[in-house]
Symmetry: C2
Subunit: 158 residues, 2 copies
């Protein structure tokens, strides 16, 4: 194991601990590295900021993108103290970093009652079989805006 | 179809269009309703704010939770102009609203080059087979913080 990776991961783990101890939220930390430099640090702030999306990875991704002035994490590596939940995994794919290193895995997370597996199962479930009811309405009205996007000339793709 | 649902969805669709036309980002809008009142409105702001997590649903969830002073959307209904991507779906499960109504579906989204299916496929792929490399390191060091969380008495669960 390259010692550099261990060092960055240890920082993510330290942030997980300090965030938890300060009452910011759950025991999760994350750093984002570009060109051998930490450009963003995040830790879970869900309960202290009333933001269910303020997971360590989402928080760090937002900061890193702000630092870079880009909505893409080109050439960046994410170190997160735990395997990303489905929300963070989605955020990672939208941000497109080069690689992800994680410490604990989802089995470890489930053991302390962070059961991401429930969400993984719901994502895979047929839409009518989910515990939160999902219903499609007004599809034609909604598609009209998609058509306008398709026809739009001056758009920034992402 | 209850006309009330159509009215809220139309507002989400209008936000999708105005956000797109103003150059905020992609053609996606969302409103969150509690007790027959819109408490939050969101639209995609990814490219204008350099935030890959600034999808319509995530934006609206953040605002609604701030309004409610809670990290849970108890008794709330989400109206989104398009079926949520995996990131937003994760955010929705963490926020736990009562129901979700959507306009376009992921097939419609793929037709205008928003291919969420790629992310769905990656989530289901074995971790070593993903296009972004994921690697586990320092699991023992990371688990120590999880153990500290398990032992912590004064914690806010979520």
């Amino acid at each position: 194991m390259d010692n550099k990776h261990e060092t960055y991961m240890q920082r993510a783990i330290d942030l997980a601990r300090s965030g938890m101890e300060s009452g910011a939220g759950g025991p999760f930390g994350c750093v984002i590295v570009k060109d051998n430099e930490i450009i963003a640090e995040g830790w879970n702030k869900v309960t202290s900021t009333n933001d269910p999306t303020a997971h360590a990875e989402v928080t760090a991704i937002r900061i890193a993108c702000e630092q870079l002035g880009s909505f893409q994490l080109e050439g960046c590596v994410i170190y997160t103290s735990c395997e990303p939940c489905p929300m963070c995994l989605g955020a990672i794919y939208w941000a497109r970093p080069e690689a992800v290193y994680y410490g604990c895995d989802k089995v470890d997370a489930a053991a302390i009652a962070f059961d991401d597996q429930f969400i993984y199962d719901e994502i895979d479930a047929p839409i009518h079989a989910r515990t939160i009811p999902f219903q499609q309405i007004a599809q034609n009205e909604a598609i009209a805006v998609f058509q306008a996007w398709a026809d739009k000339i001056d758009k920034t793709k992402y």
